[in-house]
């Protein structure tokens, strides 16, 4: 994205459109695989598979439709981006509700997956309106509002870093016990 927006790049609308589409497609695929492995209920997993299939279908159709209009190829196609954002946000919420329904005693924020999901949610919720309206904005406005994307990416990366940090900590076998006892102590204090 940064490369496409840089001055060194010689504009080629079709290549840009394919790159943008690929980014959205693989980003969705990557996060949906993560969510699929994190969801515990079979029904929700199946639902995610169906939603992913629908997304892939809509994205491919959109790409074909976009390229069929050779006179005006849209670089930033808002439809697949918005569908992917809504789908991922919904499944992140489903993941969180699964977590609060689970009978295990353990804080949800002590698990790395929680922070990854928070990162995904914040990123897609924050950039949803930006990507949705992007094609309607003037070049000046696009430049002005692009900061929203940067802020959301930074936030997402911070949450992902917390997740990786927790994963590293969890490798230490004594850490989990200390985490549970800390949780108990914390609750007892309250």
């Amino acid at each position: 994205m940064y490369f496409l927006r840089s001055r060194h790049y010689k504009y080629d609308t079709e290549l840009e459109a394919i790159l943008m589409w690929s980014f959205t497609f693989f980003e969705f695929l990557f996060f949906s695989i993560f969510l699929y492995s994190s969801l515990s209920k079979k029904a929700n997993r199946r639902l995610l598979l169906v939603a992913s299939a629908l997304f892939v279908l809509s994205a491919v159709l959109n790409l074909v439709f976009n390229f069929s209009q050779s006179s005006h190829v849209k670089v930033f196609d808002t439809l697949p981006i918005s569908i992917s954002a809504i789908t991922l946000i919904i499944f992140c919420i489903i993941y969180l509700f699964e977590k609060i329904q689970s009978p295990e005693i353990g804080f949800v924020y002590a698990t790395p997956n929680f922070w990854i999901v928070v990162g995904i949610m914040i990123y897609f919720a924050g950039t949803f309106f930006l990507f949705l309206q992007y094609s309607e904005l003037s070049v000046q406005e696009q430049d002005n509002f692009w900061i929203i994307n940067w802020i959301c990416i930074i936030l997402k990366n911070i949450f992902f870093s917390i997740a990786f940090y927790l994963t590293e900590k969890n490798k230490n076998p004594t850490y989990e016990n200390s985490l549970n006892s800390t949780a108990e102590m914390e609750l007892n204090k309250n």
Partner: protein, 275 residues
């Protein structure tokens, strides 16, 4: 998706984009914070429940240990206070000097010693029967309960009757003993505290459930009283009942009859758990 897109000719896109983003972020953060706090609340509640359960188990264990100790003390007292003096007396009759006495006195002494030893045998048998009723061991719960109720009725102060409707298949020996002890404890409580004029026990089965119901017309307790006493340090016998039934994964209900005349105690067991 198209509905969410703003037509720039009619509305301020920047305005919608800015507030839309703020709104989406606020909703997401709100949801995450709600989930964290909700989960904390649920975990706190679960921990409190676990703590309460742990404390109750501790109380039940203490009650059962105390009862065991009391039972041991009672047996020790029976042996020491009754069997001990009897055997000592018998020993006195059979001392070394007996050979120097005349024949009649010898016979009298031996007869007295025999009488005392017979009494001691009877006493020890009674202690043994109180530990494990032979009727229960040999003929089962129905006979043991019948036997117990006949003895109570025989005293004349209270009318006790029982009826087993469906007890063709006996419970396991250990389980029968536990149920019998629970019935004994309940009867003991009724005799001690209720001042009732009758006790009636019925046994039934419903599917895989095994029920024993007891009615009496005296002063009884309700489920709320039972639970309150279970949580307090009082009610050792009730805690003992609870801990015994826990072994069988059974339940007990205390209630007042809708007619407000009788008190009813129901013991519910799972037959599959007691093969």
């Amino acid at each position: 998706m198209f509905f969410l897109q703003v037509n720039p000719q009619h509305a301020n896109v920047s305005f919608v984009l800015f507030f839309g983003t703020i709104g989406m972020l606020a909703l997401t953060i709100g949801l995450i914070v709600f989930i964290i706090f909700h989960q904390r609340k649920v975990i706190k509640y679960q921990m409190t429940l676990q703590k309460m359960e742990h404390e109750q188990q501790k109380m039940l264990l203490n009650a059962s240990i105390r009862l065991q100790e009391e039972e041991r003390q009672r047996i020790a007292a029976d042996l020491h206070d009754d069997a001990g003096p009897l055997l000592a007396t018998a020993r006195l009759y059979l001392n070394e000097n007996l050979v120097n006495l005349d024949k009649t006195t010898q016979l009298q002494s031996i007869y007295n010693a025999k009488q005392i030893i017979d009494d001691t045998i009877q006493l020890i048998r009674n202690i043994s029967h109180s530990l494990m009723p032979p009727t229960l061991k040999n003929f089962g719960l129905e006979s043991a309960v019948n036997d117990l109720f006949q003895k109570i009725s025989g005293s004349g102060s209270i009318n006790a009757s029982c009826r087993f409707h469906d007890y063709k298949e006996r419970l396991a020996n250990d389980n029968e003993l536990i149920v019998f002890r629970v019935i004994q404890e309940l009867i003991n409580n009724i005799l001690k505290h209720s001042n009732s004029s009758f006790i009636h026990l019925t046994q039934n089965t419903n599917g895989n459930k095994f029920y024993i119901r007891m009615h009496h017309d005296g002063k009884g307790i309700t489920q709320a009283d039972f639970e309150r006493m279970n949580k307090s340090s009082a009610g050792l016998g009730l805690k003992n009942i609870q801990s015994r039934l826990k072994v069988l994964q059974g339940r007990i209900f205390f209630e007042k009859d809708p007619s407000q005349t009788y008190y009813k105690v129901t013991i519910e067991l799972n037959r599959e758990e007691n093969p």
